[in-house]
């Protein structure tokens, strides 16, 4: 309360959500779309613990976030006072840095340091816990403090000599590929990366967080890699003998069985955070440093070689490999070959989006379908909870995105399970008049779990049935938000009927928040799929019984 009392007239815009998890996801949405630090506040005890999932999400996905929590007064700490929680202890393994403030004099320095660590290096979440007596205290304020961190040997930047090694690798490679992850975007090195990849012209794919880093129209781009990646990307990754990794963690959803991940490949790993190296698979050459420095350093060395030796003779001719690797992707992008109605529906939606758009996907089947069909070259245009996979993320994150980008068309794609996990934020959407376009892909199941139950547990659909879902259009109406419904039959025609097209157009162009429910077949599955524990080359493409 003392903080809220002081906020009034401070110039800081405060956004009230209906649940603390909504607040932290909204702050994440703001941070993910702008690259700036997002801030979420919560009261002590349950308010603070409700932030925990968002903090974990920000840690996994490298989102710059400062969470400020209230704490019981200093004299009561450790007494199990009313609404006392050791949120500092609870979040120690989830935060990049945290402090409990002990005197009012510390506050300017702690805030400055917290913001520094949230956005420096590999961005991440920071927690600042402030006891209520310190919030009530007063002192003169002479302006924001500055923080100058000590540097350590591990913070040193790469000096560019690594480039010789990569060039030597390239000269011996017959099937090189590039994998782009979120780190490339976070570093702000997208233009440099695109120039490098254009020069290399090798088959390239991205993680779910790397989507948009490489224009999908690029002739060498194969789409998303991993558990639900494209066949072309996964096969190229399996066959490659040299993989350049730009800011990706190589987590289990990307690698499949780590023992059989890119079995013939040398790996060159560009990464800012040494802790991400060799987690699942050992790399032959780590290039540690900010990609905004290491990519241009490598490209400059490559240019020198090309000039010195003549462009045609300096690197092998990879055209045959490129033709083989890229050929499969062309078939997968033909919309007439896409029988899956939900994919058709998402294609209809995405193709009608205004150029200035951001898609926020929740977690589950719809997330993977949306990622597979994402075709924008906007580096911050596709936002999702990738590492933690936190259902309920999308709606509040969309609130943060829309607040950051009021003129942008913000499309929030959720499943029926996830939408209900933070459904209360419809009230926030309505109160703020945010023109978010909300889509629910409603299959009346916890669809991804059901898919696994179908494929690997003999259709034992235990506790995934949501056939008693509420009427989402009516719920939206209760929040004074208009809702619409489209069923699968509308996607049977190609192209869709004028009536369906008009509905989608008016939904997307409305200046107000709107909800569109797509009734999806309960047993629709996401393919391709790499079964858990399998190699990327062991994708399945259709239902197996």
């Amino acid at each position: 309360m003392p903080l809220y009392d002081a906020l009034e007239g401070s110039g800081v815009r405060h956004v009230l959500t209906r649940h603390e998890q909504g607040a932290v996801f909204a702050a994440e949405g703001y941070a993910r779309v702008t690259g700036k630090v997002g801030v979420a506040m919560a009261t002590s005890g349950p308010g603070a613990t409700n932030l925990v999932t968002g903090i974990a999400d920000a840690k996994m996905d490298s989102v710059p976030l400062v969470c400020i929590t209230g704490q019981v007064r200093t004299a009561m700490i450790g007494t199990d006072a009313f609404q006392e929680t050791d949120v500092f202890g609870v979040t120690l393994s989830l935060t990049k840095w945290s402090r409990m403030v002990r005197t009012i004099d510390e506050i300017p320095e702690v805030i400055a340091e917290g913001f520094h660590w949230a956005r420096s290096g590999r961005p991440g979440p920071v927690l600042i816990d402030i006891p209520t007596d310190i919030l009530k205290a007063k002192r003169d304020f002479s302006g924001p403090a500055k923080f100058s961190p000590n540097t350590r040997p591990s913070d040193a930047h790469a000096d560019g000599a690594f480039a010789d090694t990569i060039v030597a690798f390239l000269q011996r490679a017959t099937r090189p590929v590039a994998l782009v992850g979120a780190g490339a975007k976070l570093s702000g090195a997208i233009p440099e990366l695109r120039r490098l990849l254009d020069e290399l012209n090798i088959p390239t794919f991205s993680t779910v967080h790397g989507l948009g880093a490489v224009p999908p129209q690029s002739p060498y781009y194969l789409g998303m890699v991993g558990m639900h990646g494209t066949r072309a990307a996964n096969m190229a990754l399996h066959e490659t003998d040299l993989m350049l990794v730009f800011g990706a963690r190589l987590d289990d959803r990307v690698t499949g069985d780590p023992a059989r991940f890119a079995p013939q490949a040398k790996i060159v790993h560009f990464e800012i955070d040494p802790a991400q190296l060799d987690r699942v698979r050992t790399c032959e050459l780590p290039v540690i440093g900010d990609l905004a420095e290491t990519i241009p350093a490598f490209h400059a060395e490559l240019r020198k070689l090309l000039i010195r030796t003549g462009e045609t003779a300096s690197l092998p001719d990879w055209s045959a490999w490129r033709t083989v690797a890229c050929g499969a992707e062309r078939a997968e992008t033909d919309p007439r070959g896409l029988a899956q109605p939900t994919i058709r529906f998402l294609d209809e939606l995405f193709s009608r989006l205004p150029e200035d758009n951001v898609i926020i996907a929740d977690v589950g089947q719809h997330q993977m379908w949306a990622a597979q069909r994402y075709r924008s070259s906007s580096a911050r245009g596709f936002i999702t909870s990738g590492g933690l996979g936190a259902m309920g993320f999308a709606l509040p994150a969309a609130v943060g995105v829309q607040l950051a980008k009021p003129e942008t068309c913000v499309l929030c794609v959720s499943g029926d399970g996830g939408f209900q996990m933070n459904i209360q934020e419809l009230a926030t959407v309505h109160r703020l008049g945010l023109p978010i376009k909300m889509v629910i892909v409603d299959n009346k199941y916890l669809g991804m779990v059901r898919q696994w139950q179908q494929l690997f547990y003999a259709r034992n659909y235990a506790e995934t049935d949501l056939s008693d879902n509420p009427d989402f259009v009516e719920i939206a109406k209760a929040y004074k938000i208009r809702g619409w419904r489209v069923n699968e039959a509308a996607m049977a025609e190609f192209p869709v009927s004028a009536e369906t097209a008009d509905l989608i157009e008016s939904f997307l162009r409305s200046p107000e928040p709107e909800l569109l429910v797509f009734d999806c077949h309960p047993e629709a599955n996401v393919y391709p799929m790499v079964p858990a524990g399998a190699a990327l080359s062991e994708m399945v493409y259709e239902d197996i019984e």
Binding site: L92, D159, A161, F169, A275
Partner: protein, 104 residues
């Protein structure tokens, strides 16, 4: 058994973050000793772990904001001269390393 020596600034939670990196992997903390060491603090731990876990821990400890330095020795060789392992999370830079890696 490996012995790890970690120098850190004694800021709130720094030691707990160092220990958390071990405990989250289910590794037993056989022996832990933390003390003031000059301008900073130092914790010495004896751990039974795999080569891969050792590398992961090195890198994770170095990613902790308040950690200054991480070194390790084999428990048997701790006091032999030159037994310190090099600081591992660094880019490969030398020309010799480059040639070796390229031809490997």
């Amino acid at each position: 058994m490996q012995v790890f020596h970690i120098r850190y600034r004694n800021a709130q939670g720094a030691l707990m973050r160092i220990l958390n990196a071990v405990s989250r992997r289910g590794i037993d903390l056989t022996s832990v000793h933390a003390e003031y060491a000059g301008h900073d603090y130092a914790v010495t731990m004896m751990l039974a772990l795999s080569h891969k876990q050792s590398g992961q821990l090195y890198r994770e400890w170095n990613a902790i904001v308040d950690v200054i330095d991480v070194r390790s020795t084999s428990a048997m060789r701790e006091y032999e001269p030159g037994a310190w392992a090099p600081h591992p999370p660094a880019s490969e830079t030398g020309a010799q390393q480059s040639v070796r890696a390229a031809l490997a």
